[in-house]
């Protein structure tokens, strides 16, 4: 049982939760995630460990309430308990000193990006951070990321904050200007965003690292449900990742697999049609 210490809504449907998990707080490194199961009968879902406080024995999760499990988790009040949290899982981010790094976050992916960006900055990289959202309300962690970024750029689809458009707009400018051209790009967000960023950096030959978010169960390599194809090879995102070279990822397959259970809900009986 893991006690919820605090729970605040930092953007619409986006919660920052601090939870008692002393063993994980002590062991956790940037880039790792935990598997969370709210109560008996609930699903196990992966959530990035955004921050830790080993002294207090707590971890921070930043959770976007997109569906059944995440909505139930963010409804847990301080003082209440989460039944199971297992972690830290996945490979920690390989924090390298690249020089100039652009970090790109989209939607809840910005929460996943946050610990990586912090680690990269602490290692001495010069960070430019681009955060995208549908509108102002959905641009998250701007101040937190600005604290260690040389420059922070927000983009919104409706222009209500920062630049109007997608994260790829400012990224292109940075790539084109020799004074700002990054040595590496980290991108975390919805699959189409990571794909667009990777497609954009490829002709520039800029190393691009993405953090993949397939459906998971155990998070320990036991089920293979999280498999992704990277560079033509099958990898288990929970143990071989979640970070991979963005230029090698089969995004179409990832996007398809992520939608599997939604499609099942919609048409319970695919084969009837296929065999008819």
């Amino acid at each position: 049982m893991f006690k919820v210490i605090s729970n605040e809504e930092i953007a619409p449907q986006l919660h920052r939760m601090v939870i008692e998990a002393p063993r994980i707080a002590k062991a956790r490194k940037p880039g790792q995630f935990a598997i969370v199961r709210l109560k008996p009968g609930a699903e196990r879902i992966p959530l990035t460990i955004a921050d830790d406080d080993p002294e207090a024995g707590t971890i921070t999760l930043i959770i976007q309430a997109v569906g059944y499990s995440t909505k139930e988790i963010v409804a847990t009040q301080p003082g209440e308990f989460i039944q199971n949290i297992a972690g830290p899982l996945g490979k920690p981010t390989d924090i390298e000193v690249w020089g100039k790094v652009v970090c790109v976050g989209g939607g809840a992916g910005t929460a996943v990006l946050f610990p990586l960006a912090k680690g990269l900055a602490q290692a001495g990289n010069e960070l430019t951070t681009i955060i995208g959202g549908r509108s102002e309300k959905y641009v998250i962690l701007f101040d937190e990321l600005s604290a260690f970024s040389k420059q922070t750029i927000a983009t919104t689809e409706d222009g209500s904050l920062g630049e109007k458009g997608f994260v790829t707009g400012p990224l292109k400018r940075l790539l084109d200007d020799p004074a700002t051209k990054p040595d590496a790009v980290y991108a975390v967000g919805p699959v189409p965003m990571m794909r667009a960023v990777s497609d954009m950096t490829r002709p520039y030959g800029v190393k691009t690292i993405v953090s993949l978010n397939p459906i998971m169960i155990d998070g320990t390599g036991m089920c293979g449900g999280c498999r992704v194809t990277v560079g033509g090879k099958v990898q288990f995102a929970c143990v071989d990742g979640p970070e991979f070279d963005g230029h090698d990822v089969d995004y179409a397959e990832l996007a398809a697999r992520q939608n599997a259970y939604q499609e099942l809900d919609e048409h319970g009986c695919r084969l009837d049609a296929a065999l008819a």
């Binding site: 009968g41 398809a256 296929a274």
Partner: protein, 476 residues
């Protein structure tokens, strides 16, 4: 009780096992075998000739005193039978259900040479179930040694070791990666073959013995083996062989294609079969093809049937006689209407425009010369490819060692498959660290994991003799 003559014994026919009707059970998850009534069990035990050579004992991987427990049972002394069984086998209710008896004790039984062997497995199950109902579980011994022992993994290996260590007076803590106990007994073997109340009861018995169980601890991630060694006087590693193998054919990442581990975990551990609205989903196929011929394949295909498949199909490379699954499971599967495509090998998994599996492409095989395992090697028949329509495909090829724990411990010696090297006392290359079960043997059996756990517990007590406990209050 009056002596029964050999002639009388020989005249008794092997008992039948009462079971759920095949059609009915193929639509529910309740246990298939209903268990023997007392009179039947006693009568069956009386079939044992108490022969001198005791081949059944040699056939048992842990040498259970079979003729002795059968003799007690034949006399109607079930409690006496239970006591004998208990000495050699910590999990008789489980092994009575899942051991491949036809290759082990029953396979060697003298009565089987001419007719049918004594139904040792069913009798073991009977005695164990009776004991669970009627005998009080052990309590922790009054004299505690002060030593703390960590057990990693709560499968049959870990559970057995934990029980034996606690009975020896050590303080035991089990670390389990998943949110629930039992290992394969929980997430792999389905309810219809091994009801989870049996695993629950084993775990409850351990708690009564004072064993502490901490779930959600992934050793190698949450804690390392080295950290555990600093706090505990000895460690038993039984983390199983949890890594699923895939076919490595095109189309394996299509939607609707599962490893057996994922398929069974969704169904069993996560309870997808229970129709809980907040629970884990599973693709309930109308036509499900399962690759493999072992217990894992049988469990998957029979689960598919119970999840509502019209056609649940086994596709296996060799012939029926070569299938490594327990014979009883194959028989039950056939009765339940499982279809068998034998001597076929998968070439490709084919998808529809939305990325869902729609068929598997198979090639016919014929049996050639025997290979190293003594089984005849399947050879592809040219030009025999065909498609088999399906909307779910399950790959049940077996599992290998998961490196999560071992990768963090360079001092722990492994074999070339990544299994931990352990000697006949279950000692590893690190003093005070013992290992057993599937992580040492590769995918093996429940009884062997159980035997390793028991042996390791004895070795650990031996190892601790004459040592002083590390500060017990400091232990994590």
């Amino acid at each position: 009780m009056a002596e029964i003559s050999v002639k009388e014994k020989m005249a008794i026919e092997r008992t039948k096992m009462p079971e759920q009707d095949a059609l009915e059970r193929s639509r529910n998850f309740k246990e298939v075998n209903l268990g023997l009534p007392l009179e039947w069990a006693v009568r069956e035990a009386q079939r044992c000739l108490a022969c001198k050579k005791r081949p059944c004992v040699d056939g048992c991987p842990v040498n259970v005193h079979i003729p002795e427990f059968l003799a007690k049972l034949a006399d109607g002394d079930v409690a006496g039978a239970a006591q004998i069984l208990r000495v050699d086998n910590a999990l008789p209710a489980t092994t009575g259900r899942v051991c491949p008896q036809e290759y082990q004790c029953e396979g060697q039984c003298l009565r089987g040479k001419k007719g049918q062997s004594v139904a040792i497995g069913w009798l073991e199950r009977f005695v164990a179930d009776w004991a669970a109902q009627n005998l009080a579980p052990d309590k922790a011994p009054a004299a505690q040694t002060g030593f703390r022992v960590a057990v990693i993994g709560s499968g049959p290996g870990g559970l057995t070791a934990a029980g034996e260590l606690a009975r020896a007076g050590h303080k035991v803590r089990v670390f389990e990666a998943l949110h629930d106990t039992g290992g394969v007994l929980r997430y792999g073997i389905p309810e219809f073959r091994l009801p989870k109340r049996i695993v629950d009861q084993e775990v409850q018995n351990l708690r009564e013995l004072g064993v502490e169980i901490e779930t959600d601890v992934i050793v190698g991630r949450t804690l390392t083996l080295s950290e555990i060694r600093e706090e505990y006087d000895a460690v038993f590693v039984a983390n199983g062989a949890g890594l699923p193998m895939f076919l490595h054919v095109p189309g394996e990442n299509l939607k609707g294609v599962y490893s057996a581990n994922e398929y069974l975990t969704r169904a069993n551990l996560m309870g997808a079969w229970m129709d809980d609205p907040c629970g884990t989903p599973i693709a309930r196929g109308k036509r499900v093809v399962v690759f493999g011929g072992g217990n894992v394949a049988m469990d998957s295909v029979r689960t598919a049937k119970r999840l509502g498949a019209d056609a649940a199909i086994i596709a296996y490379r060799r012939g029926k006689d070569e299938m490594p699954a327990r014979k009883e499971e194959v028989k039950h599967a056939e009765e339940e209407g499982i279809e068998f495509h034998l001597l076929v090998a998968p070439l490709e998994i084919l998808g529809d425009e939305k990325g869902w599996v729609r068929a598997v492409k198979l090639q016919k095989m014929e049996l050639g010369e025997p290979d190293a395992s003594g089984r005849r090697r399947p050879v592809a028949v040219e030009g025999s490819e065909f498609e088999l329509a399906c909307d779910v495909a399950v790959v049940a090829l077996g599992t290998t060692a998961n490196p999560l724990l071992t990768a963090a411990e360079p001092d722990l010696k492994l074999d070339k498959w990544g299994n931990i090297l352990a000697d006949e006392n279950q000692s590893t290359s690190i003093p005070g660290v013992f290992a057993g079960g599937d992580i040492v043997r590769g995918g093996a059996t429940v009884i062997l994991a159980m035997g390793d756990g028991k042996c390791a517990a004895q070795s650990i007590s031996e190892f601790l003799k004459g040592k002083t406990p590390k500060a017990p209050e400091k232990a994590a």
